[in-house]
Chain length 362, copies 3
């Protein structure tokens, strides 16, 4: 555990689905820090440090009183800015008495939190996750809370889909993925991995969704935005109908969406969805696509889950660094490189200033 | 865990209720040391180090033979002074072969053990806990063994009863506690916190016990004796009947009693009782008062239990020292100051000498 | 955990019963290293490092393809020498891509693995365990996998049978064991402890097996071979029939067999058997002898199991070194001395060279 923190703090991380945050206290651990979330009566979501200024009892064990939090031990009250507004049995309130308040942005059906320097928290920089909320895309999604692996292992997993051939055989896995080349491009904050598999037999999952016989062109175009968001543009169209040139009318198209948030150094919250732009009114299809991904251990993400947690255990026992790499890792390596740059930039900069500088530097 | 031991060793700590120690081996961990307790045939309680001199097997896994302990592995026998009196297959006994024997005092229905220098163990210095045994006081009590918090958090809890307003709302909690001032006095070993709440509506718990209508004067006079004993004189009397001046005839009076013993640095044994001096023959009342305190998670001490363990977890994750304090903490701060003085005195002194000096210095 | 590794690596350790290793991947942790075992189609057992070269996923989560192992994450394939023979989506294979392969010997119904320098792995040096496989000896046996104690505590236990008097009273335990002297002899790799108890009442276990009235001469001749094998020649014969002079015709004879393999510093795998050379066709007797040793907590080895795990816990809490010793420990002390010599020799020697020198030095 002596390794430097593997997650940048100056970043927006998904903390919850919007519907999960109500007029009650919801605890989460994010970037190794305990946070309590709630929604004010005006609808604004609040995130406070989940430890009372006085004796550290988690505020999430207390209760809401209007828009403020009452500690469940001695009744100290904190407003939504984290400032203490009541102390039991005394008139004067210590002006330094507060808990950290973390900037929040609500966007694309998720609540995003900023664990670093509040002055840098720009809501316009919430990662692009619009497929999760905007028409024509439809999906249900879910969360693996406290998945027991470094969040970067999930990124690795999603940035290289050759693993589908081995982990997801019989559904989306296919020899064609491994056989076909891919292209990696990047900017300072984004990486794209694009692979086209032309004129192939569709794998079972896609054959069912397409519902038409014949060979297809299959695409996987994965968009990563550092440090924790992946959106994968995936689909198939009948061969010869011009999908690669931009005409997807004779095909079916989905996006797998992942917002991966560090919980601790070796665990993460994985908000996922699979959205599509066809048969969007078909609720039964929405349900069945969700179950194809997570279904009591039998979905494709459940399969990844097992692999990722086993991999983390192996890393704990074999602290060999860095990994050996293959050509297929090019996308994941670029993703990690962008994360590393964010980390280096943060370490070079002065410590994040906040309402509690002494804690911010912890 | 690098912090210095937070508990003095030269002190009497409650190890068991007297009825728990019989003609059989009873293990306890006290001040981070494994101890085995039993009662000799003459009634005297014995406490030995619970690890055989030879191969460290806990002696509590062996058995009693008359008044000696036979190790369950190779049959070494230790007398009640900890000296080895038998070794298998050899005539000569290594004269240094022994386990530590800890001084014991049996008083006020509890067995007290002294984990430090035996030469300093004065039975006259067992903390005053006479309400637990002496007429007119009646109560049943119980123990939280291995409560997962630093014993000092229990002391903090009992030395500031404003927490009742928040943790025990609907039973003994009441805004009046928070509203009314208190006085703290202390000697070198004791702290007293006294609060009077005059002319108030009694909270539900006390209203039921008093059984008479009208406003009351309520008192909470808490006596701490370092390092681990608290006796709280609590009650209500009809307003205007002179309770504050010493006449409690028109009221009801109880004592909450706590003997808190470090198990490890972050866990403790909490021997508690609630005794009263009225309706002392009413067994049903005794039972119901016990259940009011501990009742499968619904009693007031169960509520404290949850808070204390959550607080310890938060401290483990947020190693911020020292705590920030409020006016209400004055009593707890004095209690901790007396404990700290005991610790400083012990550290200044030469290491406790015992029958096994090499272990005593561990 | 800072203590030097307590197990030599240049030694044959039992990894599995031969029937356990089939055409499928079987994980084991041996000497703190994860290993995957399987049987090739030609019958040869293979042991590979159980962590893929690429991303460390345990290979045991993958599958066999002919005689090679396919990683369950990205499909890398390793042959039975540990060399990578396939990488997904690339033609050229990194020539350094491999996992460690550990030498294997199959002998005496067990699969033995060599965790140290492969160049030193001489199959002729597999410990003598012939009673486990060769006529006239018959027995069934079993394994405690992941027994939670240092493997040397099992050796201590078996090298001093006075513990039977206390741990196994009512079956094989007997005051005679403690009363009678023993002799210890040793070579550079072996220790023998021999005890004869002449003209005694047989303990219940042996009385039943002998099935004849009268006093007996009982023997316990324990053979240790460093670092982890014990074979105990035990039995009784009618007194006066010359057992001590070599004539065991009027008695019954068994061997308790133990191959003890370090799993971690504080856990081990304990392959055991109890074999006999009489009534060898009596399957019911074979079964009942097995149950006498391990039977859901009621067998004699179950009793040892409890003691050994309690002892390890006590050692963890009381890091007192070295142990204090008794005369009865002479055999165990010689066993530990031989182990220590192996350890010293290994540390003096250059680091084991292997197919992966960087890992071998971990």
């Amino acid at each position: 555990m002596a390794e430097a923190t593997p997650f940048p703090l100056n970043a927006w991380y998904a903390a919850a689905w919007d519907y999960e945050i109500k007029r009650e206290l919801a605890p989460r651990t994010i970037c190794d820090k305990d946070v309590v979330l709630y929604r004010r009566s005006d609808g604004q979501v609040v995130a406070l440090e989940d430890a009372c200024w006085h004796r550290l009892l988690p505020l999430s064990l207390g209760h809401l009183k209007d828009d403020q939090v009452v500690c469940g031990y001695h009744g100290l009250i904190f407003n939504s800015a984290g400032r203490c507004t009541y102390m039991p049995a005394q008139e004067t309130i210590n002006p330094s008495a507060c808990v950290r308040a973390f900037p929040i942005a609500e966007k694309h059906r998720l609540v995003w939190v900023w664990m670093g320097d509040p002055a840098l928290a720009d809501p316009d920089k919430v990662p692009d996750f619009h497929w999760n909320s905007d028409p024509p895309w439809v999906g249900e999604g879910g969360t693996f809370y406290s998945l027991q692996c470094d969040y970067r292992l999930v990124i690795d997993n999603l940035m290289d889909l050759t693993h589908e051939t081995y982990v997801h055989v019989g559904s989306i896995g296919d020899e064609a993925i491994t056989r076909n080349p891919f292209e990696v491009t990047h900017t300072d904050r984004k990486v794209t991995v694009a692979r086209w598999m032309e004129n192939i037999e569709p794998p079972p999952f896609w054959a069912r969704l397409l519902g038409r016989p014949g060979h297809v062109d299959r695409w996987q175009i994965i968009h990563f935005e550092a440090p924790g968001v992946v959106a994968g543009d995936v689909g198939v169209a009948l061969t010869g109908t011009g999908a690669r040139d931009g005409n997807r009318a004779e095909g079916v198209n989905g996006f797998f969406l992942a917002a991966v948030t560090p919980e601790t150094r070796t665990s993460c919250h994985y908000f996922w969805n699979f959205v599509r732009n066809f048969r969007t009114d078909d609720q039964a299809l929405t349900k069945s696509l969700n179950l194809a991904h997570v279904n009591q251990g039998r979905g494709v993400y459940d399969q990844d889950h097992d692999v990722l947690e086993a991999q983390q255990k192996a890393i704990n026992k074999n602290p060999r660094q860095p990994f050996y790499n293959l050509n297929i890792d090019a996308g994941a390596l670029w993703a990690r490189r962008l994360i590393d740059r964010m980390l280096a930039a943060e370490r070079g900069a002065p410590h994040p200033a906040g309402s509690r500088p002494d804690l911010a530097a912890e």
